[in-house]
């Protein structure tokens, strides 16, 4: 990648910019030393790196407004960032410039369980809201695996999912409105606490727009009733195939589980080494199958699921009956699942987590395909994913010091994602396009589809200074930018 830095450290512009940034947010909320900035050179996608020129930490909407005005005055690009857990380079400072890090806007402004909403600042970590709601009988439904680190602002930008989206939907289904600082530095509230405001569903448009329409400074989310109870089953299979067929069987039987997660053998070993939950390390695959709802109705559903598991040659190793999501066994099994990505570190120094989607019934096919790719490219691939949604997460293990291996990983990733497209799926279910997958957008969408999206982007972000070179390919060149902040209209 050959993006040009907007401001090199020693130019007069740089020192003036730095002084003005500092005047807005205070010296304690600015990072500009090279060693301080290194942390921000990438997010969870480590293949591309770019150090921003400066990182600022606004603590209120007014700060963001002044920062955007300043960037406009100096024609410097800027990119919002939450916790940097994006797995697709969504927060990469492609054109250098100013990184607006929202982690110090971290207040929960209001919780209203009667009207079932909460208003939070973008830097509120997902799990903080869950904790703040403990005991109220309500929760915030989206629970990405990174929920102990990722922010609700970042979840909003990428339309994050998580294990419980199968029944409860993804982030966009739970965001009622946002406050947004637009690229012209005006502040607008979109949507709100009441339903169906007259006008377009701009909330739906902004969620998942990966920061390309402005900087979200407040998020109004809806709150969901806690289920009365649940059953979480751990089903063990000799083969991945049997597990994926079980997934199809459960859905076909008309059961909509709250979660339906799969781990393959490599992943089981990593997780078991890390947490010692008691997963069977010899198993070909395991499924975590959760149903929730009214306690009285759950035993029948759990029984039916057990029968489907057995009919596919699996066995239910454990069945957890729970009333709250705080029960130790429940916490343990989900901690193991949600920390799976971290556990991969035990298998390999670096890894690339892919995110593809296929129609649920084609899981057996795509898993066979991934096995083939692993063999052909001689790469180890671990799998842990949201099977009920058809949302796969092959994790490609590699050593980033070995350039040839990196190339094999990139090719293998591409082949898996192209197969997802070929069978009618998508190249991202919840991680976003970021910089990583822009080149694949023309494979998913026709030129006229992309032209419509670019027209919308240009209407709301006409100068292209906000999150440049993300999400949408511009022309035939994807992430190459020669000069920051300048964008020919498409």
């Amino acid at each position: 990648m050959s993006a040009t830095a907007a401001v090199s450290a020693t130019t007069p512009l740089a020192s003036r910019l730095l002084a003005e940034l500092t005047a807005i947010v205070g010296a304690g909320n600015v990072l500009h030393q090279r060693d301080e900035l290194l942390v921000y050179e990438c997010d969870g996608y480590v293949v591309n790196k770019k150090v921003p020129d400066v990182v600022v930490f606004p603590t209120c909407t007014e700060h963001v407004v002044e920062l955007v005005k300043l960037c406009n005055r100096h024609d410097v690009p800027y990119v919002p960032r939450g916790a940097g857990t994006s797995l697709s380079g969504g927060t990469l400072a492609v054109g250098g410039g100013v990184m607006i890090c929202l982690t110090r806007m971290k207040r929960i402004l209001e919780i209203n369980t009667r009207d079932r909403y909460a208003i939070v600042e973008p830097g509120v970590v997902n799990v903080w809201l869950t904790r703040a709601l403990a005991g109220t009988g309500f929760h915030y439904a989206p629970d990405p695996s990174s929920q102990t680190a990722c922010t609700i602002g970042g979840n909003t930008a990428t339309n994050s999912g998580g294990p419980h989206t199968l029944k409860y939907g993804v982030t966009v289904n739970h965001v009622k409105g946002v406050e947004l600082v637009l690229p012209d530095a005006s502040v607008v509230t979109i949507g709100g606490i009441t339903d169906d405001p007259p006008g377009y569903d701009l909330t739906g448009l902004v969620v998942g727009s990966e920061g390309t329409f402005g900087v979200v400074t407040k998020v109004i989310v809806d709150l969901t009733r806690d289920p009365e109870a649940g059953r979480t089953l751990l089903a063990v299979f000799d083969t991945v195939e049997a597990a994926t067929e079980t997934v199809s069987g459960i859905i076909a039987a008309g059961i909509v589980p709250a979660a339906l997660e799969m781990l393959d053998n490599l992943m089981i070993q990593a997780v078991e080494q890390a947490f010692g939950f008691g997963f069977p390390t010899a198993a070909g695959a395991i499924l975590i199958i959760e149903v929730d709802g009214i306690d009285a109705g759950l035993d029948r559903e759990a029984q039916l699921i057990s029968e489907i598991v057995q009919s596919r040659g699996g066995r239910v190793q454990k069945s957890i009956t729970w009333r709250t999501r705080k029960e130790p066994e429940y916490v343990a099994i989900w901690k193991s699942r949600k920390s799976a990505f971290g556990a991969v570190g035990r298998l390999s120094p670096t890894f690339c987590t892919q995110d593809g989607v296929v129609p649920r019934t084609l899981l057996p096919h795509i898993m066979r395909f991934i096995e083939g790719v692993a063999r052909r490219y001689d790469i180890r691939i671990a799998n842990v994913f949201h099977a009920g949604d058809g949302n796969i997460h092959p994790i490609l293990l590699f050593d980033e010091r070995d350039g040839e291996q990196v190339q094999r990983v990139l090719h293998a990733s591409r082949e898996i994602l192209e197969e997802c497209i070929r069978v009618g799926g998508s190249v991202t279910g919840e991680h976003g396009i970021g910089v990583e997958k822009m080149a694949l957008m023309p494979r998913l969408f026709a030129p006229e589809d992309l032209a419509a999206m670019i027209a919308i982007r240009n209407a709301l972000n006409p100068e292209g200074r906000c999150s440049p070179s993300k999400l949408l390919p511009s022309g035939g060149h994807c992430i190459e930018r020669k000069s920051p902040g300048r964008r020919a209209s498409a």
Partner: protein
């Protein structure tokens, strides 16, 4: 817009209605998407506006058609493109009627999670363009929660798609949601991919009469954390309850709370018992099986009722529903409130003057739009001559300027449904 040609409104009979007494210069019913694209392109080049139409169940919904144009009827685009039922998705053309879709889904014991009135006429394109929903949105979600892919034809006569056919997909902007509720102003929806769900094993409609509103506020507060998990919480005034209850053999009441339950049979039965305990009453009327289906149908059809000259939809906080309803004369308005969502549907009763209606709508708006509430009042229907004064969409919202920019981006010449939606759109 083509400045040289300024077509004028046609004389009757012309080519049928565009709504609000305006007539179409021509009516086209393309058999294919290619034909539809061509029809749009040609008529836009001739300087005509384009008015998409489906089953015409909402023909008078929105502002008055703003300039002469043609009606494009989508009803011949009614194929099921793909129904991988085990994936719980279906891809259909937009002109399919809700009833036809229901029949296709029922063969696999599945359904779409939207209550749609006049289902034998309403097309799916129209349902999504107008953001139609009903009582069960409380538990089952809104149209935006069901749509995962959309194709639409722009004013250039080009078919554009957004989203896809898989249930989780964050590639590109969420055009399916943008088009949902866009009132046909961004393009003609030609195809969509929808999430579908298994039919519930059991369903119950619990009918609870009340003699006054006084205790209902506390009841609704308590139901917010009920041990049951209702999928619908509707509050009906006496005339609404009488009409909906007509064929249901249910007791009358000054006010009736309708609590809907859906799940497996064990769960539904448990929830009914639970509600009896929580409400402290044994005199609940419980409609189950085919009686429940009739109850749902009654609730759904009533949302499109035409009782008096005006109907409106008030959106407020759920906790504000009872105070708001208490401020209404139940002799002048029939009330159906989706109380869990803060959506109050009002149908005027008896004779009204424009002045009286304007005073009432103003009052509703001042209540709903109070500082910090962010609510709204949408005029669902009224005589055409009243629309300008009453205002269909209410006070401009904070994000309308942004909406206008989105409109500019996708329909820069303002070809689609001019005059019908918010602001200058």
């Amino acid at each position: 817009m083509n400045e040289t040609a300024q077509p004028s409104w046609p004389d009757p009979p012309a080519a049928g209605s565009l709504g609000d007494g305006r007539l179409a210069l021509a009516r086209l019913r393309p058999e294919t998407v290619v034909d539809l694209c061509q029809a749009v392109g040609e008529h836009v080049r001739d300087g005509l506006a384009i008015y998409p139409q489906g089953g015409t169940t909402a023909l008078d919904y929105g502002g008055i058609p703003g300039r002469p144009g043609v009606a494009i009827d989508t009803r011949s685009l009614c194929r099921v493109i793909d129904y991988p039922h085990a994936d719980m998705t279906i891809t259909v053309q937009a002109g399919i009627t809700a009833a036809s879709l229901h029949a296709v889904l029922a063969e696999q014991n599945q359904r779409l999670l939207i209550d749609i009135p006049q289902a034998d006429r309403a097309t799916l394109g129209g349902v999504f363009a107008t953001n139609t929903s009903g009582s069960r949105r409380f538990g089952l979600g809104r149209p935006r929660d069901q749509i995962i892919g959309v194709n639409f034809v722009t004013s250039e006569g080009i078919e554009v798609k957004g989203g896809g056919r898989v249930v989780k997909n964050v590639a590109g902007y969420d055009l399916p949601k943008l088009l949902t509720g866009s009132m046909g102003t961004l393009g003609i929806i030609t195809q969509m991919t929808l999430k579908v769900r298994p039919m519930p094993e059991a369903s119950a409609v619990v009918w609870v009469p009340f003699t006054s509103l006084a205790s209902l506020g506390g009841t609704l507060d308590a139901l917010n954390t009920s041990g049951s998990r209702p999928v619908a919480l509707d509050l009906l005034s006496a005339p609404a309850a009488r009409i909906i209850g007509e064929s249901l053999n249910v007791p009358a009441g000054d006010w009736v709370l309708v609590i809907g339950l859906e799940d497996n049979a064990t769960s539904v039965n448990w929830q009914i018992n639970r509600l009896m305990i929580e409400l402290g009453r044994a005199d609940l009327t419980i409609l189950q099986d085919e009686h429940a289906a009739a109850g749902w149908a009654g609730l759904t059809e009533f949302s499109a009722a035409e009782l008096g000259p005006v109907s409106c939809v008030v959106s407020i906080r759920p906790s504000g529903v009872i105070p708001f309803v208490a401020s209404i004369d139940p002799g002048r308005w029939a009330v159906q409130a989706h109380a869990g969502n803060g959506i109050v549907r009002l149908h005027a009763l008896g004779d009204w003057t424009l002045d009286h209606a304007a005073a009432e709508i103003d009052r509703f708006r001042s209540l709903a739009e109070r500082e910090g509430e962010g609510g709204s009042v949408i005029l669902a229907r009224c005589p055409t001559g009243w629309k300008v004064r009453l205002g269909v969409w209410g006070r401009p919202q904070a994000d309308w300027a942004l909406a206008e920019r989105v409109k500019q981006a996708l329909d820069p010449i303002g070809a689609f449904n001019p005059g019908r939606f918010i602001g200058s759109i």
